[in-house]
């Protein structure tokens, strides 16, 4: 079937199998391979992207369901070569080690801060309950989210 998605601001139309998952569309059709598949069972959050501005797990959405909608992946966050505040905060706070969970973590935090620009540490931890990290023990990820929120307060 023909699907029409807007991915990181670019319109992409393609003829795909009806059963194609959004994450495979992003990686194999749109050639955007930052979004990872970790568990494939809706648990780990590595595949998190924004659908119309809200975080979703792209291993559990059909490309067909996303047709007509806007998708943002971590590749689409930077503007004019400038990293997004959440990306910058991950860099500054050392919010990653192997980096596998990072694209999903960053997108989950972008969505979280959009809904709650000034979260408490507890709210960040709860907001990331759908994202697993095997390396960092989460502390620096939570710090990065709070730092990005602080930066948002300064620039707002």
């Amino acid at each position: 079937m023909k699907v029409d998605l807007t991915v990181n601001g670019k319109d992409i139309s393609a003829d795909v199998e009806d059963r194609m998952l959004l994450v495979h569309f992003l990686r194999d059709v749109a050639d955007l391979t930052a979004t990872n598949v970790g568990c494939d069972t809706t648990s780990c959050g590595a595949c998190t992207v924004l659908l119309d501005g809200e975080s979703v797990k792209s291993c559990t959405v059909l490309a067909a369901q996303a047709s007509g909608h806007e998708i943002t992946t971590v590749e689409g966050l930077a503007t004019n070569g400038e990293m997004h505040p959440v990306q910058r905060a991950f860099h500054q706070e050392h919010g990653l080690q192997c980096g596998f969970c990072t694209p999903g973590m960053v997108m989950a935090i972008v969505s979280l801060l959009k809904e709650n620009p000034d979260p408490s540490e507890q709210q960040v931890r709860q907001g990331l309950e759908g994202n697993l990290c095997r390396c960092t023990g989460y502390h620096n990820i939570v710090r990065a989210a709070l730092a990005a929120a602080d930066e948002g307060k300064v620039s707002a």
């Binding site: 079937m1 009806d18 059963r19 998952l21 959050g45 975080s55 059909l62 369901q65 907001g127 759908g130």
Partner: protein, 273 residues
């Protein structure tokens, strides 16, 4: 993991969804948020030949104040139930419980109608709506009917919906004392389903995952009606249940949890009321 091949159809309205299901019959399945059905299809535990996507039924996503009850459209996402001002004021139990389902990503996709129609006894909202004495509205080729939630759940993943019927609305009567509620959920990891859960609204007590369907804890309710204290009433929590023995917990442990959680819930509800 990918599902077996199927044909995808997107319905633009309830009428169109019903036409499509009439055309494809048993081979077809409705898809709402897809967060119960797609995981099953990826594991090949479900293999429908036709998927009828309901996401185009925007007019079935709403929460409205109807005076004596709150009407919630079947396609309303958990996220929108969680953040509804009407529910926060009139039925805080439902708003709170919706915020305990899975994780934020799951709540951005999953719907209240999908959760009810899927009828997983481990799910949160079926038990919550049972405690709230909700009424479900279904639309089929024969017209529209109302189903009291007590008659809806027939068994594990089984409901009284006909395969060609669409759940359209959930009507939640406003509780007399909206504040007298509690929701307790015991799970192993953050996003997991409850090993056991308990929803209390006033004198109504419902259990998550204590049998093939969500259950009202009749023994507890009767004891409360007789004036028993929360901890004494909670001793009856496992009566009439048939909890599973599985890798997460033994039946005896679930029965223990039911008594503990019911006791906590009754105490919290009465402190809030």
């Amino acid at each position: 993991m990918i599902p077996t091949p199927f044909t995808y159809k997107r319905a633009g309205s309830a009428a169109e969804a019903l036409e499509l299901v009439a055309e494809y019959g048993d081979d077809a399945k409705f898809l709402a948020g897809g967060h119960s059905l797609l995981p099953l299809m990826k594991l090949r535990l479900a293999a429908p030949e036709v998927i009828i996507d309901l996401s185009g039924l925007r007019d079935l996503s709403y929460v409205t104040d109807q005076g004596t009850y709150v009407a919630v459209g079947a396609l309303t996402r958990h996220h929108d139930v969680e953040h509804s001002d009407v529910l926060a004021r009139d039925v805080p139990l439902l708003a709170h419980a919706a915020g305990q389902v899975g994780d934020p990503q799951i709540r951005h996709r999953g719907t209240i109608g999908g959760s009810i129609a899927h009828a997983d006894p481990a799910s949160d909202l079926p038990a919550v709506l049972l405690a709230l004495d909700a009424t479900l509205v279904a639309q089929g080729s024969g017209g529209t009917r109302e189903i009291p939630i007590g008659e809806f759940f027939q068994g594990l993943f089984e409901t009284s919906l006909e395969p060609d019927e669409l759940l359209t609305e959930i009507r939640v009567p406003k509780p007399a004392s909206a504040g007298a509620w509690s929701f307790q959920k015991f799970s192993q990891r953050a996003i997991d389903w409850a090993i056991v859960g308990c929803a209390v609204q006033g004198g109504n007590v419902a259990l998550v995952n204590m049998g093939g369907t969500p259950l009202r804890a009749a023994g507890v309710e009767a004891a409360l009606a007789d004036g028993a204290a929360p901890s004494d009433a909670a001793a009856h929590a496992a009566e009439g249940t048939s909890a599973a023995d599985d890798i997460r917990a033994t039946r005896a442990y679930r029965e223990h949890l039911a008594r503990v959680l019911v006791s906590r819930a009754l105490t919290e509800a009465s402190s809030r009321a």
